[in-house]
């Protein structure tokens, strides 16, 4: 499917440019990933710094923070997800249009972080929604967020348009809506979405 790289370079030297629909399509998709304008805690301050002139997320086509989930392609979970907030985060994710991506930013968003043993903090947002890139750090530096974003771009670039591993919007059988957890009498119910998250095996 893909054109041989060397042949492509040779042809380029002759003034002939070869590409595929997939490459063109993914180039367009990865170059204008619009994040959702929403911050949860202190990581959001680093996220804001990343968009400002010094780090300038706009270089990667992701400067347009959208205030509505309907217009956003990417959700940056920037901060602590409390159990009170978790249903709203999942609901916002459900309201985003496909293709959509999630970056879990910081120790809290990926695992609960320093609040992991508390009663009111979710131990990682990946319990309820699929996360594409996890960034450790408390909070991660803007460079780390840029790195995560570049990683996401590479991931988008590598997605085939057909067959296994295609983006969810091209797969009619892919789940579109993720169940919103209920706020129960003692904890969120269920404690995790088993279709998204399974208990990782700990090798000892």
């Amino acid at each position: 499917m893909a054109v041989d790289e060397n042949l492509k370079i040779e042809l380029g030297k002759q003034g002939v440019f070869v590409t595929t629909i997939q490459e063109l399509y993914n180039w367009g998709r990865r170059s204008s990933v619009w994040p959702m304008q929403f911050g949860l805690a202190c990581c959001a301050i680093e996220m804001i710094a990343t968009t400002m002139a010094r780090y300038d997320l706009a270089r990667f086509g992701a400067e347009v923070f959208r205030p509505s989930p309907r217009q956003a392609d990417m959700m940056i979970i920037s901060g602590t997800v409390t159990k009170k907030m978790a249903p709203q985060v999942v609901r916002l994710y459900n309201q985003m249009a496909e293709p959509r991506y999630v970056i879990a930013m910081g120790a809290c968003a990926i695992s609960g972080g320093p609040f992991k043993q508390g009663y009111n903090v979710l131990k990682g947002i990946d319990r309820y929604i699929p996360v594409d890139v996890h960034i450790p750090g408390c909070p991660p530096r803007p460079e780390a967020l840029l790195q995560a974003f570049i990683t996401l771009q590479k991931k988008i670039d590598a997605q085939p348009l057909t067959g296994e591993g295609r983006p969810r919007h091209l797969d009619p059988d892919a789940p579109g809506e993720f169940p919103v957890p209920k706020q129960g009498e003692h904890d969120l119910e269920p404690a995790a979405n088993k279709g998204v998250w399974t208990v990782p095996t700990i090798i000892q």
């Binding site: 009663y119 706020q183 009498e185 995790a192 208990v199």
Partner: protein, 229 residues
């Protein structure tokens, strides 16, 4: 001007609000921040007096805290005199006499637990403080009502809601007593000492101590039932 001492404040309260129960709670630590334990019956009048009194003018309620005191077992040594029958020395076998004997006995008393509120008052006008007030509920289960200070100091509103949420103290006279941090459907009071945490210890990559125990319990339970909770 210097703030009155706690004893003077106590005397002033007792004079201004007849029948108010005020108890001095001494603090032995170097800070010497003694507090006043208020009876809930006249607490609102006492609070109004502290706010409106020209000399005290405690116009700012800075901090509202809850403390959970569990039921406590107190061992107490008591001398008991009782009558014991002893065989008479040098007497016939089987002959007994009654002797009084004093023994030390340890008695165990259950001191019922309660929820305690601690208030820190300051005066913006006079630039003095803090005056520390306390109030206690009757027990930890059903008699957990205390008067609200929100009508007296508006700054108590959110803090009392937080105490209601996390400790379960019910404030009578509060204009809007709802949970503030946890969701409305939540039933527990997380800051209570006997709170049982939700069991989500299935994945703990660096478990140790208490957490390690819980993870192991979680895992053994999963293996027992074959299901993952």
């Amino acid at each position: 001007m210097e703030l009155k001492t706690v004893e003077e404040i106590k005397a002033a309260i007792e004079e201004a609000v007849p029948g108010a129960s005020v108890k001095l709670m001494p603090n032995a630590s170097p800070s010497g921040q003694h507090s006043l334990l208020l009876g809930p019956e006249h607490a609102v009048q006492v609070a109004e007096f502290l706010r409106d009194d020209e000399e005290l003018a405690l116009d700012f309620l800075s901090n509202v805290t809850g403390v959970d005191w569990l039921d406590k077992e107190i061992a107490e040594k008591v001398k008991v005199t009782r009558q014991v029958s002893k065989p008479v020395e040098g007497g016939e076998p089987g002959q007994v006499q009654i002797v009084e004997e004093t023994v030390e006995e340890t008695r165990k008393l259950m001191q019922p637990g309660y929820l305690e509120m601690v208030y820190h008052l300051f005066s913006m006008a006079k630039k003095h403080g803090p005056v520390v007030l306390r109030m206690r509920t009757e027990n930890r289960t059903d008699k957990v009502e205390l008067p609200s200070f929100t009508p007296v100091w508006r700054s108590a509103e959110f803090q009392e809601r937080e105490v209601f949420d996390l400790f379960g103290v019910v404030f009578k006279g509060h204009p809007d007593l709802r949970r503030i941090l946890m969701w409305d459907e939540f039933k527990d009071h997380p800051m209570r000492r006997d709170y049982v945490e939700p069991d989500d210890f299935e994945y703990e990559p660096t478990a140790h101590d208490e957490v390690l125990k819980r993870t192991q319990e979680h895992r053994s339970r999963e293996q027992g039932t074959g299901t993952r909770n």
